[in-house]
Subunit: 606 residues, 2 copies
């Protein structure tokens, strides 16, 4: 279907917004009146600019507080409407959004409202303009879509139809089922917005927290499907008021918006992009560092062995069980200090995964490989992390490991398959740019077919941060997305790789024996564990001795400990028992404070 | 009264918080359990640290979900409590906050709850510890202070009392009148927090948006006065969960917190600091710039005349009517480009104003003056602006203008008293640091006795910003405090000086004639004005010709226009008719977009 977006959804001046909208591939725009009023170009110039960019102007909005019990106010509104019709003629827009009145003098009488809207439609029709009447969730008398439709039906004028807005409908908990009873040709417009589920004043919720479909908690796709089943054939149009998007780069937000609509069309059964190819696990984590020696020492202490060197690049392969880490001594100038630069994702069909990613506007990265290298396709995640689609060790498929020569220099006691060692990568945690947290969760959900968990607020000593995990259904691929409290210097916080082990006590002990340092956990934490849980004798002493943290949920238990931080990277060892689903969020405050203490001490020691 | 603060109110590690609390002059702290658990020091070390800093530990908190219909859960809670009593003994804390249960298994039976709390108090008493039972606003069964008190009364144990929390009481709209019916000795603790009036889920409101008393919308002082009348003699203690304070400098937040309590004591009639000396107007605005030539040109075009030069510093005095601007060519290194560095405040009693400021912890600035200079006391506002207390032109009082020699070089047509020119400074607008917006409104309210307006959200092309004005009761001193959408580079946005005129059309025309540039306003704005208002013929053309913006409220009308921006400063010309009370907020979006357009054009032209 045609795709449109309201200019209020994006940051910048109106010309900047139009450029971003066109570049993202939209067919049209809704012109938000305040954007036009503040624009340095007149309506005719905007019309030309939009036409040059290949955009239609699908809607002019909003026209507020039209209907009234006061004859004088109504006359004023009609005069106001005539002026707006003139502007719309210059703009080349033929559909005006009229939202239900929020004024105390809004008529209680539906017949009066219908008569007034018929009068407005009559005037509009004389200009070739149509009116789409919408119920605001906080409208004074008319605040549900079915009420707005009853009035439109009663007014019975060809230039009058209704506008459906998913936020106004779903935020009130209205049943969208009735949409299918509205004749499709009388649904003049369909505005789509999602929002996180929040218990707050609906006006504030609407004005500050809307997000693109698929980023919040509403079934926006289901609502759109109903409108299509009713016969709606106009554009799918996004109208999102969001405090973060207002500050973000418009071009990038517009792409995020388009990805949202493409994904919605798939969910609603309107379009069929290439199906998602859900990754089954992490093939490798690639760490980039100009000086890889501290990471080598850390991996050695963790029991990893260097098993290969890349044939053409300064990249080493380290392995233990199914956990694989690449150390890349080139390209580390992208971030300060050692950083998590790329992930290999174990994918049943890499070529299909790339097709899926391309169809959802994920930036496909150019292949930089020597003629001998295995073919490896990659896309860039919203935080810049490169995601490679891999098939490891499957006969008949290219294997990225063939780019590495065997390295006989494995240290004693380490290496793949060692008893009680690391078995695989349990999850990775990536710090997201502040402006692109919602974009990231939609990216992983739509491009990779992962399922997002609920967002959580976690406290570190210097502010709350938000965390949201995405995972495949089996829990064999898990990525935790973290975002700092606000834009600024704190966005470059550490990322980490969590390594699974079947016996964390043995593994942690061996790390210590090999000279690896584990993050010291405060003794007060263990006193609190003792108060909260009744451990068997000795167990708590072991946790305390090895700085292992503990959590449980209704499904099982979680034990985890941390290494020191190198640059922007650290490792976590985790052991899950039963079906524990989380990531130890209950311990995040203690871990972050302990890392802060360690930083302070290191700072003093230097 | 003794003053205390919960460690959760501040940013940083527990030792950092204690240091900040002591430095701000608090007597004690509430230890928030998570701060202790995450601390690198054990309870005994924290006890010693607090004692060294002269702080008592007034409360350990919170102990959650104690009461239960399940015998097994109750036994677990009692075991948990015993562990916490041990921690408290090491801490030297003898009061534990127990908040009402949020669990589905909380007893419905008040007698059972009372019996369980009596049992807990008995156990606590054996350790010399007392229990303060508090109703959470979102408690499952017990969620009002009077309900909590009825249970405490029924339990009737000397080691059991109640804790009152102003947020929990006032957020639910409870009548605090009943506080005076509680025997003072059974009010074991009083926690104070304010919050902006918001319609949202009370748990989220409490956890993210609390602020210090005097910064929100609750009558916290009135509630505290009732507790004191009831006979409460414990500390006034702040417990504030605030996402911004979590990120702000702890030392500064602690001073803000103490200022809040000092102001609350005054409002509650508990203490009598020196009375506020409310300024009656702006004596001068001081602009600092390394190169003052562009500002000279702008002031000249606005009709100002240079009337004096400072006898000892590179400072010029420019005047028109009662509006006075100082141009300071020294000290401009504090900010980038020309900036508003200081305000002279017309004050009936400068010495008393300083005593007031000192009593409320405002940083009094050292006097840097030559022997001949007039005595002029100043304090630093939260954004660093220097506020000088002045009496201008009153016989028998030192006049700051005596530091300036007369300058005969006034340009033609300008100068004081010119017909239809600028008469006075209407208001100034100051951009606040993001972390200190609430601090600023409390500062102006408490230190200067100004009244804050409601906060408003305004849209600029790149994000919402918040604006809150403070003014004296006659409206002769008005300061608009603006804050950027988030921390980072956008905090250094322009500040401005608004100049009053009795005939903005004549004044704007003369500015143009003198070669001054006014900010171009988009033509679309005037088309919208035409749609909204029915102007007499010709009036709108005049506004359009002179780029004058228009607003009205129920009291009167407002006309205003803007100069170009120089560095971080621009001027506004304003004409108020009737009793218009605002600042033209309805036009802020258009003004900000126009300034952005002008910046782009200037950037292209350079």
């Amino acid at each position: 279907m045609r795709k449109s977006i309201a200019t209020v959804s994006l940051s910048g001046s109106l010309p900047e917004k139009l450029t971003a909208v066109a570049a993202a591939g939209f067919d049209g725009v809704e012109i938000f009146e305040n954007d036009l009023i503040a624009a340095p170009l007149g309506p005719g110039d905007i019309r030309d600019r939009a036409a040059d960019l290949g955009l239609t102007i699908d809607l002019y909005q909003p026209f507020r507080d039209f209907e009234s019990t006061s004859e004088k106010a109504l006359a004023g509104s009609l005069r106001r409407a005539e002026r707006k019709f003139e502007v719309m003629e210059q703009l080349g827009a033929d559909l005006l959004l009229v939202c239900s009145s929020t004024s105390p003098d809004a008529p209680e009488d539906d017949d009066l409202t219908a008569a007034q809207l018929r009068l407005l439609a009559e005037r509009a029709g004389a200009h070739g303009i149509r009116i789409a009447y919408e119920a605001l969730a906080w409208g004074r008398r008319v605040n549900t879509y079915d009420h707005a439709w009853r009035i439109v039906e009663a007014a019975d004028h060809p230039a009058l139809g209704t506008c459906l807005d998913s936020f106004h409908i779903l935020s009130r908990g209205s049943d969208p089922g009735g949409i299918e009873d509205i004749p499709g040709e009388k649904i003049f417009f369909l505005q789509l917005a999602d929002a996180p589920l929040m218990a707050m004043d609906v006006l504030q919720w609407s004005r500050h927290y809307r997000c693109f479909p698929g980023q919040g908690g509403f079934d926006v796709a289901g609502l759109a499907a109903r409108a299509v089943r009713a016969g709606y054939r106009g554009p799918l149009s996004l109208e999102v008021f969001n405090d973060v998007f207002r500050q973000a780069d418009a071009g990038r937000t517009a792409v995020d918006a388009m990805r949202s609509l493409l994904s919605l069309e798939e969910s609603a059964g309107i379009a069929s992009p290439p199906a998602p190819v859900v990754p089954s696990g992490v093939a490798f984590a690639e760490l980039a560092a100009a000086d890889t020696e501290p990471l080598r020492a850390l991996l050695g202490a963790l029991g990893f062995a260097r098993t290969g060197r890349h044939t053409g690049k300064p990249v080493e392969l380290w392995e233990q069980g199914e956990a694989r880490v690449l150390l890349n001594a080139a390209g580390a100038d992208r971030r300060e200090g050692p950083a998590l630069a790329a992930l290999g994702l174990e994918t049943p069909d890499p070529a299909a995964a790339v097709r899926r990613a391309e169809s959802l506007l994920a930036p496909v990265l150019p292949r930089r490989r020597a003629p001998r290298d295995a073919q490896l396709d990659a896309v860039a995640a919203p935080d810049g992390t490169e995601l490679f689609f891999c098939r490891t060790g499957r006969p008949g498929h290219p294997d990225w490991r063939t780019d590495f020569t065997d390295d006989p220099g494995a240290p004693d006691g380490g290496g793949p398959g060692a008893a009680h060692g690391v078995t695989r990568i349990d999850h990775v945690a990536l710090t997201q740019p502040w402006h692109h947290f919602d974009e990231a969760s939609l990216f992983y959900r739509s491009v990779l077919g992962l399922r997002p968990d609920e967002s959580m607020d976690l406290a570190d000593p210097y502010g709350l941060f938000r965390s949201r995990a995405v995972a495949n259904s089996g829990g064999t691929l898990r990525i935790a997305l973290n975002v700092a409290p606000g834009p600024g210097g704190r966005e470059t916080r550490p990322q980490h790789v969590a390594l699974a082990t079947g016996d964390i006590v043995a593994t942690a002990r061996r790390v210590r024996e090999r000279g690896g340092a584990l993050l010291p956990v405060p003794g007060n934490y263990y006193n609190d564990l003792d108060a909260r849980y009744d451990f068997p004798p000795g167990d708590l002493d072991t946790l305390r001795e090895l700085d292992i943290l503990y959590d449980r949920d209704e499904y099982g238990e979680f034990y985890h400990c941390y290494t020191a931080t190198v640059g922007r990277v650290f490792f976590e060892l985790v052991q899950r028992t039963g079906g524990y689903r989380g990531y130890g969020a209950a311990n995040a405050t203690v871990r972050l404070a302990a890392q802060h203490t360690a930083e302070l001490r290191a700072g003093t020691a230097r």
